[in-house]
Symmetry: C2
Subunit: 100 residues, 2 copies
């Protein structure tokens, strides 16, 4: 069942765009790992926050992706730029009004 | 710029699945209104919550969609089933590692 992970990453002041650059770097491994969607964004009302919305083929695929070399490298690169504040939700997709 | 709306809708106890059914009913108007993605889901750890993750062609398209007859009808139908607790984030998409 399609799994969704939506959340926020707090960044150290002024580091948001660096984190966005790391997270949006093209990573072909994600698709083969079962990533269906991975949108990264910002909202100037919260200038030290990065937003992510991800869809995966399953919760297990998402969990397994955290062990990929490329993902571990990206996490290691972003970590010093993060404030440690994180939020988010995980859910199982039930459907969409676009598909009915 | 692609606009994301991710959030939660609290429901009255036991009404979650009715709200999911309303929100996932096929609505062809959404696509022509600029809706790119509209995933609705659940998480049994929070049994009275419905989760949504939406992508729109713009924030304006999302706002305008709230005036569509079909959307107003769905909101009116769901409203008595909701607790009034809502949460969420809105952001502008900067990119995706799937696209690079």
């Amino acid at each position: 069942m399609t799994f969704a992970n939506v959340g926020t990453l707090g960044t150290k002041p002024g580091k948001r765009d660096e984190v966005v650059a790391i997270l949006t770097r093209r990573n072909p491994q994600l698709e083969s790992a079962g990533c269906l969607l991975y949108e990264v964004g910002t909202n100037d009302d919260e200038p030290d926050t990065v937003f992510v919305a991800e869809l995966w083929t399953s919760a297990e695929a998402h969990q397994a992706s955290l062990s990929l070399d490329t993902v571990r490298e990206a996490i290691a690169e972003a970590m010093p730029l993060l404030s440690g504040q994180m939020g988010g939700d995980r859910f199982t997709v039930a459907g969409s009004p676009l598909r009915g």
